[in-house]
């Protein structure tokens, strides 16, 4: 009996390992492509250095202080902006979502402000803060906040009205209601919001660095490009990509963990995007 079980589990492991290997093959193939194309001259190595050259540049760059400063600058702006967005989104979302009056009053304003591109604020941010981190935060927070807010509003609206009434009739105050009734339902939606916000926050953080020249990976990329250090530029591009992958995977894993307890919400999360 147990042997049959272990065989099945082992079989599933082999299947999953095979998928991992296939993915790895894809990555290796991509790297090979990146190696061969510049070397064969299809694309000039001045514009696209071979993969090996980029890797060498990357490993050299990792030993510099510039690299780590840039990396931490980007991550700092991203993290601070994300935290502000999440906290604001949760607080305002729960406050608005719990009241039908507030919801209907703010609905039009939210739908109006939400699609305004964060990049519209760039000139204002530059005037006020120049190339400091505050500029980045303005852009990041304005974009990421809405992602969190919308999801939290969905979550609060999804709360079972019967549970709400019961809590109220038992005399639970606002905080207790939030903790025992609203929060558990809202949490999976919040995780979806955090996932979307994390991705958007990274994009806007880099946007700020590229467009406004705030310190960070984006700035390194524009500097190296204009300075002609092409291999180093690509090295930073790859690092930015890796950071993006880690953020995406991490947020998705977090969301999945929480969603596993709330199966009914899964379809809505899938709708929020791959």
């Amino acid at each position: 009996m147990r042997t049959a079980q272990t065989t099945k589990v082992r079989a599933r492991h082999t299947a999953r390992t095979f998928i991992w290997l296939q993915g790895l093959a894809g990555l290796v193939g991509f790297a090979l492509l990146l190696e061969i194309v510049p070397r064969s001259g299809i694309i000039s190595p001045d514009y696209l250095p071979p993969f090996s050259t980029i890797m060498v540049a990357l490993f050299k760059e990792i030993k510099t202080a510039t690299f780590w400063t840039a990396l931490s600058d980007t991550l700092q702006a991203w993290a601070i902006g994300l935290v502000i967005s999440v906290v604001a989104g949760v607080v305002i979302g729960i406050a608005i979502g719990s009241s039908r009056v507030l919801r209907s009053l703010t609905h039009s304003t939210i739908e109006f402000l939400r699609p305004i591109p964060s990049v519209a604020l760039i000139p204002l941010a530059v005037l006020l803060f120049g190339s400091q981190i505050q500029s980045t935060l303005v852009l990041v927070v304005y974009a990421a906040f809405w992602q969190v807010l919308i999801q939290v509003l969905y979550g609060v609206q999804d709360v079972d009205p019967v549970a709400r009434e019961t809590a109220r009739s038992y005399g639970l105050n606002a905080f207790a209601q939030i903790r025992y009734v609203i929060w558990p339902t809202t949490l999976p939606y919040l995780m979806t919001g955090v996932r979307l916000a994390a991705a958007v926050a990274l994009i806007l953080a880099i946007t700020s660095e590229v467009a406004i020249d705030t310190q960070g990976l984006g700035k390194e990329i524009t500097d190296t490009e204009s300075g002609g250090a092409v291999a180093i530029m690509y090295a930073y591009v790859i690092v930015a990509g890796i950071i993006g992958v880690i953020v995406n995977l991490g947020a998705r894993a977090l969301e999945r963990r929480v969603l596993a307890w709330h199966p009914s919400v899964r379809l809505d999360a899938a709708e929020a995007g791959a």
């Binding site: 093959a25 591109p117 005037l127 591009v237 930015a240």
Partner: protein, 261 residues
């Protein structure tokens, strides 16, 4: 719940907060001496002067044109590539890590990279939008094809529905809700890239104009530009939603009936 109110009352509620906020802005800024925050009245006057003139078209036109070309190309390519990848389990397994990596590269980074390849002209701006917008569409198309209903797939097989009919009547409509999710994400990215690429290197376009105003400290003009960009974002979003609800009306109806129980 909210639809029980008669229409006029709904309009009042919808406008209440926005009108209040705008009025508050107007009044608090009316006597403003601040350089960076001129009176709202001045901003609106400048707005009318700038954006209701024929000159406005030369500022907005090229931007929207580049965005449209880039976005539509990315949408088409994303779906065209995503369909076969989504249909083949092996292709998916091999390509997914690479695609996820490429997608994770923050799109603004592509601006300096593409400047390297194609310089500062129109091609760069359109290409940057293509390269930035293709990934969400592609990956969501793959996810959409993957999630096609098996019973429906077997029905299609049992009735011997041909390859093209299968694509048109089954695969595409079936994956379309997920594809639209990708298209929505891509639209936001496209707008960001449109503006950033123009701020970086352009001779026309709204991004360029905005940066010019900011650099020359033409503050009311800058504010009016911000409002304009905001309006563009809102209009594009409305257009997208209208298109989506037209195409996916069946899906919204289906989900509603599912949610009802």
């Amino acid at each position: 719940m909210k639809n029980l109110l008669p229409p006029p009352r709904r309009v009042v509620i919808a406008l209440a907060l926005p009108v209040t906020l705008i009025a508050a802005w107007w009044m608090t800024s009316a006597d403003s001496q601040s350089f960076y925050f001129p009176p709202l009245q001045t901003i609106l006057r400048t707005f009318a002067k700038l954006w209701f003139s024929p000159q406005a078209l030369t500022n907005i036109g090229p931007s929207l044109w580049r965005l449209s070309v880039g976005y539509l190309a990315a949408a088409f390519l994303g779906v065209a590539i995503g369909l076969p990848v989504g249909a083949s389990r092996n292709l998916r397994n091999v390509l997914e890590p690479v695609l996820e990596f490429l997608r994770a590269i923050p799109p603004p980074v592509l601006v300096p990279v593409l400047i390297l390849f194609v310089g500062l002209g129109n091609e760069m701006k359109a290409l940057v939008i293509v390269f930035g917008c293709i990934w969400p569409v592609l990956l969501n198309t793959v996810a959409g094809v993957r999630a096609l209903d098996e019973v429906l797939a077997e029905t299609v097989r049992s009735y011997r529905i041909g390859r093209f009919a299968r694509l048109w009547h089954f695969t595409l409509p079936g994956a379309s809700p997920q594809i639209f999710t990708g298209l929505r994400q891509s639209l936001s990215i496209g707008i960001i890239l449109m503006v950033v690429s123009e701020m970086f290197a352009a001779r026309d376009g709204i991004g360029f104009v905005l940066v010019q105003y900011q650099r020359t400290f033409a503050i009311p003009e800058m504010w009016s530009g911000i409002i304009m960009l905001g309006i563009i974002g809102i209009v594009l979003s409305l257009l997208f939603r209208a298109f989506e609800s037209w195409l996916l009306g069946w899906y919204h109806g289906l989900r509603q009936s599912q949610r009802a129980g």
